[in-house]
């Protein structure tokens, strides 16, 4: 195809527009628009890495910052995370496996006997928004289910949430189970939730504890980096 300056210009503007649309669609939690725009990006030849970094991730960062300041609330955070996830599925499929942008894979859930999910959902949403692949198993998750799922998806991290002092013990059960089946070293185990403390995490042999969702994201990144290095 002969070189055309004007054509280049059109593509350049179009890419900017597409990135802007992706950003906006994540910020407004519009999954349909994210999906359509991600497909459009691929059709127009936008580099999927750039589409993720300058479109989806930029939008996710805005949402995370706004939630931290409580300029937006949980529903907006959750729909933005859903939109981000839908966009990532489309764009990541176009990136060679050895060039993955994923920071790591997390299997998380609220432990057996505990039906509280809000804190865990916030952490899962922020992890997704920050480039982790997250498998959220929901609430009241049996001990072995965490391990089966971690094996299945090749998880880096198992995240265990508990809100009640009476359900904390189930966090220890998952770690003890991992030890018993000889797989403790395979996974990073992070704990969190209402009654969880640093002392408790140390006592049961967890790798990490954080009091807030943003701290959990930071800690997850550090722990995965440390493990991989």
């Amino acid at each position: 195809m002969p070189f055309s300056y004007s054509r280049c210009l059109v593509i350049e503007l179009s890419e900017e527009e597409i990135l802007g649309k992706l950003y906006q669609a994540v910020v407004t939690g519009d999954t349909d628009s994210v999906v359509a725009t991600a497909k459009e990006a691929i059709e127009k030849g936008v580099d999927p890495v750039i589409a993720i970094e300058k479109g989806l991730s930029k939008g996710a960062k805005t949402i995370g910052d706004k939630f931290e300041k409580l300029e937006i609330f949980l529903p907006e955070l959750l729909v933005a995370a859903e939109a981000m996830k839908a966009g990532l599925e489309i764009l990541l499929a176009r990136i060679p496996k050895d060039k993955t942008l994923r920071k790591g894979t997390v299997v998380c859930g609220t432990v057996k006997g505990d039906i509280h999910e809000i804190g865990k959902k916030i952490v899962a949403a922020l992890l997704s928004a920050n480039g982790f692949e997250v498998y959220d198993l929901g609430a009241d998750v049996p001990t072995s289910k965490f391990i089966e799922e971690a094996r299945k998806v090749g998880a880096d991290i198992i995240g265990l949430s508990a809100l009640m002092s009476s359900t904390l013990g189930a966090q220890k059960d998952v770690i003890d189970y991992l030890k018993a089946v000889g797989e403790r070293e395979k996974y990073i185990v992070m704990v969190g939730g209402g009654p969880t403390t640093k002392e408790w995490a140390d006592q049961i042999g967890a790798d990490g504890y954080s009091a807030t969702a943003p701290e959990a994201v930071k800690l997850a990144s550090e722990l995965v980096e440390k493990k991989r290095s």
């Binding site: 609330f73 057996k112 505990d114 039906i115 809000i118 002092s165 009476s166 904390l168 220890k172 403390t197």
Partner: protein
């Protein structure tokens, strides 16, 4: 009148819906709209509101919202809806008087109005906070039962049984619940107040099975105790919680429904959380047949009820309930700071004041966000009760000015609060009294509040 069987039928035949769609598409969206329709606006200059029309608008908005949106049953994955007439009848026929306790400690819990001169019911203790040992549990209970203003006890939660960490839904949980009942009753006997009602029975029983096991009469629980059962945020029930309701109603005891709409969560900002807090009362009255209500709205980040937004939520939703219904409602407060800190006492004073002048009674309290083992003493609920009695009958405007003064003393530390000391560190357990340092700090803060206009009775 809606019966418990009607509730089950609604749970089985209501509109099918995923929990995701109920919470994000129905609850959150409609709540946001209705707040706009009623033009409800948060006023940061009035953490304790004096606006009657705002309270009434919040009540009407909550009513419309509850009629339209209903509640969600997690087990049947269906929406439980009530007709307008059913809700009105439920509110009209809800108990306006419940006698709790026995002998000389029997008292009637009655409704209050804003600026009411009737002292609030003081439901004092640990709010289910975790304790490390049975010795600490009993010692704390003795301290709570010795507070002169106490009307009922809120126990801590045991975390282990004979050294074994409790596991949810296990026999260890059931054994823990039995010990919770037996030890709490024993502690009230030891201080000569065997008739005092326990009202968060049983903090250690998260599952319905454990509750039912510990209800056996030989463990000392009575139909004049209160039985607290949770509604999950936002307006979600499940079979395990409904089983607890079934057990308590069969025992012919009063159900108390507790609920904690999170500010910043599904309900959105202060306005939506105030409306949701009121709507949870309606759900409790109908689905749980609740005789009394325990709202404890919390800040999603700071997990306390002492920020200006939370005080506004307590005050406006409290007035919405107390002005428009006869429901028996007690606000539970959480502090960010821990024992032996001035901040903890300032925080609980602010929350208690917002509740009492708005027509609510109180449960006090969850100390240091209620998450740390043994980080509570009898001093914080004692202080809360003294403040509650001191501010009974004062004007909302006056309370607002005092509360603003208190907020100025602690809000700069709300994100990184001092955790203070553990029970064993700031209390002489053997002699049942605070350390000299804590007694000194306690009196100093009381003097500060007195200077601000809180006139203590002793």
């Amino acid at each position: 009148m809606v019966t418990f069987l009607d509730v089950m039928e609604k749970a089985l035949t209501g509109r099918p819906c995923s929990e995701r769609d109920y919470t994000l598409k129905t609850f959150a969206v409609r709540l946001r709209e209705i707040v706009k329709e009623y033009d409800i606006k948060y006023d940061s200059s009035s953490p304790v509101s004096s606006d009657d029309s705002l309270a009434d608008d919040i009540f009407k908005a909550a009513f419309d919202f509850f009629v339209e949106v209903g509640a969600y049953c997690r087990d049947t994955e269906r929406i439980i809806k009530f007709e307008e007439s059913e809700i009105k009848e439920g509110l009209r026929t809800a108990p306006a008087r419940v006698v709790l306790g026995e002998g000389k400690d029997a008292r009637a819990l009655i409704p209050r109005k804003p600026e009411d001169k009737t002292p609030p019911w003081c439901f004092l203790g640990a709010g289910g906070g975790p304790v490390s040992t049975e010795e600490v549990f009993v010692s704390l209970l003795e301290g709570y039962a010795s507070i002169p203003e106490v009307n009922s006890i809120t126990t801590p939660a045991l975390t282990s049984v004979s050294g074994l960490r409790i596991r949810p839904k296990s026999p260890l949980e059931a054994l823990g619940a039995i010990r919770n009942a037996v030890l709490a009753r024993e502690a009230t006997r030891r201080v000569g107040r065997p008739g005092l009602p326990l009202m968060n029975t049983l903090a250690t029983a998260e599952s319905a099975t454990s509750l039912a096991i510990a209800l056996h009469p030989k463990y000392g629980l009575r139909t004049t105790d209160g039985y607290m059962i949770a509604i999950m945020d936002p307006m979600i029930v499940d079979f395990d919680r409904l089983n607890k309701v079934c057990a308590v109603l069969s025992f012919d005891a009063p159900v108390g429904a507790c609920f904690d709409p999170l500010m910043g969560g599904y309900s959105g900002g202060p306005e939506g959380t105030a409306v949701a807090n009121v709507a949870h009362h309606f759900l409790a009255a109908l689905a749980y047949q609740a005789s009394w209500h325990l709202p404890f709205p919390l800040h999603i980040k700071h997990v306390c009820s002492s920020t200006p937004e939370l005080l506004w939520i307590i005050s406006t939703s409290g007035q919405a309930i107390s002005r428009n219904t006869r429901l028996l409602s007690l606000n539970l407060n959480y502090t960010a700071a821990g024992p032996l800190t001035e901040m903890c006492l300032y925080e609980t004073a602010a929350s208690v004041m917002a509740a009492v002048v708005s027509g609510l009674s109180i449960e006090a309290l969850g100390v240091a966000t209620n998450k740390y083992e043994d980080r509570m003493t009898p001093m914080e609920p004692k202080f809360s009760a003294e403040v509650a009695n001191a501010v009974t009958g004062i004007k909302r405007n006056d309370a607002n000015e005092i509360v603003k003064g208190l907020l100025a003393k602690y809000m700069d530390r709300i994100a990184d609060p001092p955790l203070g000391q553990k029970y064993q560190e700031c209390f002489d357990i053997a002699r049942g009294r605070p350390s000299d340092k804590y007694a000194e700090l306690y009196n100093k803060v009381k003097k500060e509040l007195d200077d601000m206009g809180v006139k203590f009775q002793h």
